[in-house]
Amino acid sequence: MNPEKNNDISVFRQQVKVFIVDNLPADIRRTVQEGRLVSPQETVRWQQILYRQGWVAPNWPVAHGGVDWSPSERAVFEEECAAGFCPPLNPMGLSMLGPLLIAQGSEAQKARYLPKILRSEETWCQGYSEPGSGSDLASLQTRAVREGDDYVVNGSKIWTSGAQSADHIFCLVRTDPEAKKQRGISLLLIPMTTAGISVRPIIGLNEMHFFNQVLFDDVRVPVLNRVGEENTGWSLAKAILGSERLHLSRTGENRALLMELLEVARQEYSDGQRLIDEDWFRRKIGRAELRLMALEYTKQRYLQKVEAGQTVGPEISLLKLQGSELIQHFDELLLEAVGHYGLPYDPGWMLGPRSEPSIGGGYAGTISANRFRHKGYTIAGGSSEVQKGIVAKQVLGL
């Protein structure tokens, strides 16, 4: 045990807590705390506050505007942000494309795109999945054919979160249909205003608009907008997915749900007493908290391995697998806690501040909407089954 290091991290945690309390605008905190939909404008406002503090890009190198934090400090930052009801940052530019451009982009691409990502002046979306390519992402068919200094792109992307408001899309396209499927893919950066792009909204089970289909009809993209060499897009995409999975352990988000569950259980009644005092429900909460503790400690253990110079590779998939399933479990418990008052639903409750209390207590109205949204967590970013396949093959050698 190294108490000195431990001490450092708790001092750091306290600094982050204080910063959030002092700087997170009350209206945004309320949106998050009440489980309502965070608007792109609210996300940008918070990102710009973090930008001024120098904290908006914890996983970028300092030279590019990042922060000099260890992996554990980054994890603490994420946990405190979630526990303090900060809106999640838009990961597309800050967590996914940014680090990739820093490592693999041309100087011109870095100069053009990175500052605007940092300052939240441009937003990105991710063009990976296609109607025919879900878990088998490498089978994607959107074609990019070289014509002079341009590629001409045809095809479509689907489940593209935020495409309706994004300025650009980073997109996997097939540049060599003859090669083995992983070897014929390239990564292109495409402005969403380019002629030939259209966006078709997909409305979710909770009546909210998160997802889209993005259609490409003879879309001309300069070759200069390709990241890395032609036909190397698959390995670039995989690098992004690896760093995404650590974030997708969602430890902070899970802890925030535990806090919400405890709060709801203190307010709900069952058999004439508070739900929190019912042994059968306390035990369900206890079991869920145990899963969260196990996830947090295993994540910490892996992060400390990285800091000690050891490699942590595909076992990160275990964190994504368990973190996403746990979110859904907390949603189930929350719905169970509010009983049949989980049923009333008005999409308006997700969008605006609660002008009138939703039926069944102030908190019941948005639980189902978030539950249905979170059903996507075990599907996106590599489904649970894909994660298990990765661990079986790459960790266990099966």
């Binding site: 079991r287 400690y297 253990r301 275990l318 368990q322 089954e385 099966l398």
Partner: protein
Amino acid sequence: MNFTLSEDNRLLQDSVNRLVQDTYPFTLREQLVASELGHSEALWRQFAELGWLGTAVPELYGGSELGAESTRVIAEALGRGLVTEPFLSTVVFGAELISRFAGEPIQASLLPAIADGSKQVTLAYAEPRSRYSPNIVELSATLDGEHYRLNGAKGMVLNGHSADFVVLSARTQGEYDELQGISLFLIDSDSPGLQWHHYQTYDGLRASELQLDNVRVSPNSIIGPLHGGFALLDEILDRATAALCAEAVGVMSVLFDMTLDYLKTREQFGQTLGSFQVLQHRMVDMYAALENARSMTIAATQSLDGDNRREQVSAAKIQVNDAGQLIGAQSVQLHGAIAISKDLAAGHYYKRLEAIAALFGNSDYHLGRFVQRY
């Protein structure tokens, strides 16, 4: 939490692993289990020489004073070999309890003997009607002149057969389940009025039932405050539970690896078992449970001196029980019929995991303890 082993503990881990691997084959374990003593005195002396029995004993009394993290490392490595030597009962129940709570005369007379392997001490906390709760103590200690007279029964006393001394909880005051009024007595195993009934448990280890009939004990043999023994007992049980969790992590890592190897080599339907996705995914579930059990055990060990000791230990025990029962049951299932034969080591690892799940509180007991925080 610090999940990285110190250099010293890494070396310690290597040396226990090596000893277990080189000198403790499964065939030797089978012989020891079948022997009258149930473990090897020669090996016990070797543990002592290597300083493993003194992790909780101050240097003043000949111990190595390495602390809980080292105890964890040793327990895990011993678990890997299903070692039957009474490490947990002597080192945690005996040495840890005496080092922390006994007065100087008891410490001076017993700690050097524990550290050098010449004496073993165990703890008798459970009673036939107490189940897992250490506050339920019906065994009575009443003052009779200068001495106490002890009457009642204790049960599931681990390694009672080889213990030279036993620390037992007795009620000196109050109702049968009150926290206040429990006192701990150190008693020579050969004291008149003690009646031992030793037996084997299904995991090849030994335990005892103990009947006390007017056993005469000096007040000098009380450990800790009179009537105030519960807090000590509670802490020592947590320390022992953390060590038991560590042992379980060792047991289940080996069992998991055995099963993984088997899936990679055993062929059916013209392909290795490991090529079937349904079995791959099950192995991933088992691996996740094992990884979590390891993390939770380390966290519990490092919380033993903290305010959240009880909840961390209960959390770890539940995770370890669940992981152990999943890995145990599924390892047998995936090995197929061979694993229910006595000849294959895997089945014995499984049985130890089942036993551990039932010792020092099963998952339901610890969950009840964990949710007291809400």
